[in-house]
């Protein structure tokens, strides 16, 4: 019930126009980079393997995203948790 009320106000704030804009920015960031989902996952696995050469991490916890940072530019972002103590695998 509460969620429905919340959703009503949230969706009222975010118009379909804004939603279209958000989806477009994301799709275009991928298109312009020329990287599809499969390639991005391949890259993620490789980056995780490289990080693991230096730091003990859980390769499954590594995340990779393409994000738009300005009108013209997108950036590739890699998130990797680090271990809190040496010898303890992060993730």
């Amino acid at each position: 019930m509460w969620n429905e009320i919340k959703n009503f106000f949230v969706s009222a704030r975010r118009t379909t126009r804004e939603e279209a804009k958000g989806r477009l920015h994301l799709v275009l960031a991928h298109d312009r980079a020329g990287i599809d989902g499969a390639k991005l996952q391949e890259l993620r696995a490789e980056v995780a393997a490289v990080i693991r050469k230096y730091v003990e991490i859980d390769p499954e916890a590594v995340e990779i995203h393409i994000e738009r940072v300005s009108k013209q530019d997108s950036q590739l972002t890699v998130h990797s948790p680090l271990p809190s103590r040496p010898g303890v695998t992060a993730g």
């Binding site: 118009t15 379909t16 126009r17 804004e18 279209a20 804009k21 989806r23 477009l24 920015h25 799709v27 275009l28 298109d31 312009r32 009108k71 013209q72």
Partner: protein, 266 residues
Amino acid sequence: MGRAIVITSGKGGVGKTTATANLGTGLAQLGHSVVLIDADIGLRNLDVVMGLENRIVFHLVDVIQGRCTPQKALIRDRRIENLFLLPASQTDDKDSVTPDQMKALIIELKSSYDYVIIDCPAGIEQGFRNAIAGADEAIIVATPEVSSIRDADRVVGLLAAQSTPTRLMVNRISPAMVKRGDMLSQADVIEILALELVGAIPLDDEIVATTNRGLPAALNGRSPAAKAFAELARRVSGAEVEEEGVRETGVGFFAKLGRALGLSPA
């Protein structure tokens, strides 16, 4: 020497052919000589949008393959001075023409006419390559929708790779829907594609009706879209046009009162 402008979009059904017909008509009305080329070989349509389908004898592929001169294949529009159509072939396919052959033909036409407007087929394959080959500049037609803008962005990239200057025409804008927040605005489209705007055409039932008759809307110039197309033609021909884009028409006090009283259409 004339200018060759390709009308392209990536996605089909967004109004390239209608834009070509109306831009050409508008430029001819301004006193320029204009040739329209239907580059959609195998799926020709510019002839029916222009209402010239019954007068086709020769076509683009005949000219390219040397079966007749360009002058012989051009259909003169009888409603307006200095407007000509070079129709596509309906029976050949896209690779019966090469980009170099198109380039040579367009250079020849530019020596006799002020504008050569090329109606590009949908897609980014051979037909697109042929259509953009001889163009000095491009106008991208996009509707305010995710799929159209996405495809337009691909085409912008391909045109940039061959350094063709590119401008944007946003088609079928509904000011009422933009106001409600249910449609991307022309400003949104400009921002996303990072292109200069050359025209903004409102959604207008008249376009369907005039297309049914084979009359480019710009010929009569009464409807909102016809006015916007005339503005597009003025801007393409280099005139400074003050007002940019679509205004919401018919929602003023008197229009509302008229509607309430049943005096003007809702």
